[in-house]
Subunit: 195 residues, 2 copies
DNA sequence: ATACCACTCAACACCATGTTGGGTGGTAAA
DNA sequence: TTTACCACCCAACATGGTGTTGAGTGGTAT
């Protein structure tokens, strides 16, 4: 079914996304116009609207792709192991996979979570992790049962803490390896325990 | 020095900000035009530009005021106690004051950190806490010295975790009291320790 | 040969923006 | 009381991005 038209279509979309990303590195989202994008992509402005409703749609689709990729990435490499390990309290494997995926998509993550973060991707990421992992962990863990703190607060606390690490990593231009980051994550937890 | 002109000026600015906030509750920032604001404020559109450069300037000034208020609020109520207590590891007083201030300015915080968070206020808040408190604590605490984790990561982790609690609180329409929130914060730390 | 496809091009109406020049009524100082 | 000043109003303007449309081009499949 992959006709030559589908290929053209795909190529143009990639061209648009690449140009868009390039612009987002230079200036904030609000300052990027469809004109800018199509000028850099060297295509007609009307062509843009054949693929996307507007620049918000473009951004949203790129976010979707990124999150879907993360989901697939996690499910493919370790089908159920991750969740099982996570439920046992072992977050190491889980987190290293996340850090790896981020490393593979640095540019986009840096732009979406970076200084000009003027689109609520932070919130989307929070919801993603919340729906996919943390809440399951928080709900299933037997030793969470006797905790008086509401689950939603604990969940939001944990995810944000993790995202805090990720954001700092991105700010540091990925100076550490994914393994080092996963290690750091564990160490912080241990550190708090011994406090 | 508070002439009648200053009062008029101030009143109009408050009017603009109030109308702006009202609109932000209805729709995302990008969809709010200067026309919308001045229509609701029942003033001439040109008048808006006598007070603000554009809607981004307006937003930024409101953020500034909010952060300056938080700073003053913290400094006024307990001049140095907060930092001293915090440096001793007692974050209770510190955090309850923060929760109280947020409660006093729910509407704005909810809009700035809420679902339509399309302006990097999350990042600004992170920097604020980072510069004012956490980094001082992290740097001064003697028992942080033998920790191998880089300070910036620990700082980002801690602040984000705290903001995670705050954001969940806002999402829950401030169902808990500031004291309960501060308590919850402490409990989570203790819980991690016992994990 | 015909229909289809992605894309180009030019033109369009629409709307928000930021600015300007002139005007109003109330305030303060001469 | 006159004069200058002030915040604000009003109308008009050029600018520029937006989304859409109709006509046209050159390859592709049938």
């Amino acid at each position: 079914m992959a006709s030559i038209y589908d290929e053209m279509n795909e190529k143009t979309k990639e061209n648009i996304q690449k140009s868009f990303l390039q612009l987002l590195k230079e200036k904030p989202f609000v300052k990027v116009s469809v004109r800018d994008i199509t000028t850099i992509a060297a295509i007609n402005r009307g062509t843009f609207y054949l693929h996307y409703e507007d620049k918000y749609d473009l951004l949203h689709q790129m976010e979707d792709t990124l999150l879907r990729g993360l989901e697939v990435h996690l499910q493919r490499l370790k089908p159920d192991v991750l969740l099982l390990e996570a439920e046992k309290g072992n977050i190491s494997r889980f987190s290293v996979e996340v850090f790896r995926y981020i490393q593979e998509n640095v540019e986009l993550f840096q732009v979406l979570l970076g200084e000009h973060n003027q689109f609520g991707f932070h919130k989307r990421l929070k919801h993603f992790f919340g729906n996919h992992f943390i809440e399951k962990i928080v709900q299933n863990q037997h030793f969470f049962q006797d905790l008086t703190i509401p689950k939603d607060y604990l969940s939001s606390f944990a995810i944000s803490a993790f995202l805090g690490l990720v954001e700092q990593w991105l700010d540091n231009s990925l100076a550490e390896s994914p393994e080092e980051m996963a290690d750091m994550y564990i160490q912080i937890i241990f550190f708090i325990r011994k406090m």
